[in-house]
Symmetry: C2
Subunit: 362 residues, 2 copies
Amino acid sequence: MAEYSKVAPTPLLKDELDIVIPTIRNLDFLEMWRPFFQQYHLIIVQDGDPSKVIKVPEGFDYELYNRNDINRILGPKASCISFKDSACRCFGYMVSKKKYIFTIDDDCFVAKDPSGKDINALEQHIKNLLSPSTPFFFNTLYDPYREGADFVRGYPFSLREGIPTAVSHGLWLNIPDYDAPTQLVKPLERNTRFVDAVLTIPKGTLFPMCGMNLAFNRELIGPAMYFGLMGDGQPIGRYDDMWAGWCMKVICDHLGLGVKTGLPYIWHSKASNPFVNLKKEYKGIYWQEELIPFFQSATIPKDCTTVQGCYLELSKQVKAKLGKVDDYFIKLADAMVTWVEAWDELNPVEGKAVEANGVVPK
Amino acid sequence: MAEYSKVAPTPLLKDELDIVIPTIRNLDFLEMWRPFFQQYHLIIVQDGDPSKVIKVPEGFDYELYNRNDINRILGPKASCISFKDSACRCFGYMVSKKKYIFTIDDDCFVAKDPSGKDINALEQHIKNLLSPSTPFFFNTLYDPYREGADFVRGYPFSLREGIPTAVSHGLWLNIPDYDAPTQLVKPLERNTRFVDAVLTIPKGTLFPMCGMNLAFNRELIGPAMYFGLMGDGQPIGRYDDMWAGWCMKVICDHLGLGVKTGLPYIWHSKASNPFVNLKKEYKGIYWQEELIPFFQSATIPKDCTTVQGCYLELSKQVKAKLGKVDDYFIKLADAMVTWVEAWDELNPVEGKAVEANGVVPK
């Protein structure tokens, strides 16, 4: 054991972070992540047919929820959790008891840095989350808190303390996260460019948040990380993470929280089917032309000082303004409210009413 | 000659770009840049004692202006051009007849990329300037127009055409561009991180623009690239490029023009004296705490549709609001007006009244 502990020191935030994985298949991909994930707790959200048995490699500490579990735990409020779509992952955020979440897709593997070394993606996310963000002014040498970097000449000293980081958005080598039209037009494009940077997304700027390789501080922003209504019975898919990202960014900007993007990279192994994706995306592709101006101009009243309060306010604006775009957004706005109610039920402010196994006591 | 032309093809924008170099010494540094600069025209702005002779290596095509030339060409308006400060470089922008400017300091050398290859900084700047910018929404794979990159899923299609790029801000390996306090605290810090990215600074976000390694489209933004009153007889130094960057960014945001930062890197050879720098900077260090909020909240009326119009409007706001911070800003606001007048005199809208040798016909 002494020998072992030399090569596997206690990882950062071991008892404060859950890894959330949505899946429909056996989790063989975890083998490659074993050196980096094995000491953490996993929350597996099984998508699709609950009678199917998902195999998890030996030695991992995990809890697994299928649709029956979600229905049992949330009751009627389970309607806010998507079915047959990886958007169901946000149920894992809700049942976690930890301060930090890292979520990753099961077709994502360990990438290598330019020197050929395996990238410990989780460690980099934790570094990103534990160092401040700088959304009020752009630093041209990128993250000023990284080793070998700092604030450059002309950066106001009053802004150098930064603000707390709520979200760390990682990237992907090999298969880039393209929409269906781009996949169709550039079927052979691979991302081979390793950009050795982490940067804060400036205040007031929206970005496309991808859920494949993402970490966040659940205490700071958890209730805003709702992945919406996608998949079975819904008119769109593949906008779950985008929706969460836009809502989250507006709220982070309002509350003074930071969002970083860049490192770490994971290796995204396989492009999803562009024809299937096109079917899922096509409504989103034209809706988003109205969603972006909506989120760019959304303002939250000053008296909203909690994530839940901000999120409920945003849901009202979604209903009032996007409801005109399509009835779907009325349903989505209601689901946003349900999500917050369910979140608060599972995460009461006082005490720890929810057991570690995810069962809500009566 | 046929042999030579094989190794030195006509460089990009050869007849449309001037290289502006402010200097007080012989330009031996050009030897290292010979393969990349020799086919371009140089505008050398000699700072300090005009009786000193600046030697330029053989084979370069250049025009050189000393203080006597500046006084002769601008007459009383020469007061807007700084003396004994590299801010004088902006005189070179004014007398150029070309569409594009690249400006570089004489202590900047050719950097190497991670593969050991010499970086053609000018070529990268030109690529940056000739491809659009995307300030309205952040692309997580950085510049979507680079080879091997594109817009990611969730990026609105209506924004994928981008907007014209006005400015390309390059970075520095070895000596980072730190202020005096940071230089003093971290005397040994060197920038060794090569970040293989170009990105658009989002709309509404300010950044510290460094003049060491900078290119811009003179037709789009030239009259806003005024480097202010610095050096001899002025209370501050080392804020020339910052001032230009803040004014320029507010105007680019207003006019719908883009600003890129990142590649190319140059090799910055020598840190300037931090004690001397501290003396130049200390007023700027506390003034900038008021300058940044001023520029962040500055708005330009819709009917200002030219760079000159925007710049004159900004000068009024500088006088009205920053004049209260220090009388220096009243003088600076007046100099901004003088600068625009001098620019328009040397760059009349109709015809080509200014000769290539920089002499203004009577």
